[in-house]
């Protein structure tokens, strides 16, 4: 069982990202689950989304999770959300930030000693898609860090997931995924 927790702001696309990832993973024969914590949240409020991936049908419906990966797609949530909640010894963090990994850890000491990767998904999204929607680039970074799928296969699969969007937007997303894959450190 692979478990992923997303930290996002409502409107940044964490739910779409989690469902898109589930869609891609499902095509490889694995069983998936994607859900989020909802409430009367407004756009901009901190929220979390989740993925579970397993070789057998996912029957666990508890919201409680000890994540293998924590994906933070908004830079400020490192300081205001409890991103290390219920972590495991080997939980891997991928954080959207303009800082280097060292600078990030210096600014948020509770990440010290953990496996932390950084990538500026906000900037990548702004420069490619034209909006600060950092969900698809984060998936590119996850592919690099986790080595889950070959990046070409992943982009091909995401292309199908996004197929209802205008061609220009799809192309920009593909570039964003590749850039995050290349730039995550």
């Amino acid at each position: 069982m692979l478990e992923i927790r997303w930290h996002s702001r409502a409107g940044q696309g964490a739910v779409t990202g989690a469902k898109g990832l589930a869609d891609v993973v499902s095509t490889t024969g694995k069983h998936v689950q994607a859900f989020a914590f909802y409430g009367s949240a407004k756009r901009g409020a901190a929220m979390t989304a989740y993925n579970r991936v397993d070789d057998k049908v996912v029957m666990n419906h508890e919201k409680f999770m000890r994540p293998d990966y924590v994906l933070v797609i908004d830079p400020a949530l490192v300081y205001v959300a409890d991103i290390t909640a219920n972590e495991k010894d080997n939980t891997i963090y991928i954080v959207t930030t303009h800082m280097s990994t060292e600078e990030l850890i210096a600014s948020q000491p509770k990440l010290a000693g953990k496996k932390v990767y950084t990538v500026d998904c906000i900037k990548i999204a702004q420069e490619t898609i034209g909006k600060a929607i950092p969900n698809t680039p984060m998936l590119g970074a996850l592919m690099k860090v986790s080595d889950m799928y070959d990046i070409e296969f992943f982009k091909e699969s995401m292309f199908k997931v996004l197929k209802k969007l205008p061609q220009k937007i799809i192309d920009a997303n593909m570039i964003a995924i590749q850039r995050a894959y290349d730039e995550v450190k």
Partner: protein
């Protein structure tokens, strides 16, 4: 003729998306709705399919849930295949008309996306609305996952519209935990799905102008009792065999087997929990872990909540020593409904299992695997002692001092 959609064998759908595709595939004639969280995407989905030519039907946006179900009743009496969806406060507002639908013997399928009922206002999942409708005369199915929310819609239409049944049916799914949780759903082709349910066969429909009928008549003490008795007779005798036949046919079509009462690891179980919704699947996983630790644990899931499967429940619990009844609704002044109904099912049998009641998960509060481990552990102690070692009703997952009764 509506356009078809080529679905993949496995689609990653949440429960709402699954239900809306089922409504499209059976080509529902009329959906009248007043959308409410978390059920909104079901009727929104149907309206989208209709707007884009994927269904030949009508979507009626009403002024309230009371109006929505009233419109469904009118459309069903006229002779159409009818469905809607609601949740929580919306279901509460619909309640009066639910009794009309069942008393008028109109087949309507209601997707009830289970949500807490305020106050305090809350959009998350518990079974308060499901419990509120339990005496309304509707057949009630329970889905534990998006796959089941999809499958049970087909079963619901088939059974509800059967001329020996002619009773409306509710398909329950957990708000958010199923409705907004995407998982793999094995799909049916549009053709296979439609053929499973078949063309709608009208009965006593108002649009049969050669046989004029008056629907919604008034009766007083001279006739009312006979009408209600006839309704109860159908619900108690016709429905379960028809559901079983539909389950069998569905298994032949899909390989997916459903049962009136679902039992997991119950053959040699010493202790068992009985619950509904997504909790059943989480409990199954925990039961397997308990077995690895030497506790003979099992899980019973209620698939058909109404009509209540009294005999099937008694049969599956025959050799169990301790049972935990998990109610996801505040019983407000009584033991939980599952406790009372299971106790009633066992009382005249030789089974003398220790029964205890757990109230959990109100307003979407998480039911964790750790909670279930502690429940199974308490049940084991009850089984060993041969009597309750805990209060009869306990709240779990609650902050503050331990709350229990009796």
């Amino acid at each position: 003729m509506a356009d078809t959609i080529e679905l993949r064998d496995i689609e990653v759908w949440d429960g709402n998306m699954a239900a809306s595709h089922a409504l499209r595939q059976v080509q529902v004639d009329v959906v009248a709705a007043y959308p409410i969280t978390p059920s909104t995407p079901i009727v929104e989905g149907y309206a989208g399919f209709k707007a884009n030519g994927y269904v030949d039907g009508e979507f009626v946006m009403t002024e309230s849930e009371h109006g929505a179900m009233s419109c469904c009743i009118g459309a069903a009496a006229a002779g159409g295949r009818v469905a809607t969806a609601t949740s929580s406060q919306g279901f509460a507002l619909m309640l009066e008309t639910l009794y009309s639908a069942s008393g008028m013997r109109l087949p309507i399928v209601l997707n009830l996306v289970n949500r807490a009922i305020g106050a305090p206002l809350n959009v998350n999942g518990d079974h308060s609305d499901m419990y509120m409708g339990r005496d309304s005369g509707w057949i009630q199915f329970g889905a534990y996952s998006p796959q089941e929310a999809y499958d049970l819609n087909f079963i619901a239409f088939k059974v509800s519209e059967d001329h020996d049944v002619r009773l409306p049916a509710i398909v329950n799914q957990d708000g958010f935990m199923t409705s907004h949780t995407a998982q793999g759903v094995h799909t049916l082709s549009d053709e296979a799905a439609f053929n499973f349910v078949g063309e709608y066969k009208p009965m006593n429909d108002m649009l049969d102008l050669d046989h004029p009928v008056t629907h919604g008549v008034q009766t007083e003490e001279d006739w009312h009792f006979e009408h209600k008795a006839r309704q109860q007779h159908a619900l108690m005798t016709a429905v379960i065999p028809k559901i079983e036949a539909a389950f069998d046919e569905f298994e032949k079509l899909t390989g997916r087997k459903y049962n009136i009462v679902e039992s997991y690891s119950m053959d040699d179980a010493e202790v068992a929990v009985i619950c509904m919704g997504t909790s059943v699947e989480t409990a199954r996983e925990v039961a397997e872990e308990m077995r690895a630790n030497g506790v003979k644990a099992g899980v019973v899931g209620i698939r058909v909540f109404r009509p209540w499967p009294l005999e099937q429940i008694a049969a599956v619990l025959k050799n169990v020593k301790a049972v935990g009844l998990l109610d996801r609704s505040s019983p407000h002044g009584a033991m939980g409904a599952l406790y009372n109904e299971v106790a009633g099912s066992l009382f005249n049998t030789d089974t003398k299992a220790v029964l205890t009641n757990y109230i959990y998960g109100l307003g979407g509060r998480d039911l964790t695997k750790a909670h279930l481990v502690s429940i199974f552990t308490e049940l084991k102690a009850n089984a060993d002692a041969g009597k309750p070692t805990t209060p009869l009703q306990q709240y779990i997952g609650l902050r503050g001092p331990k709350l229990s009764f009796f």
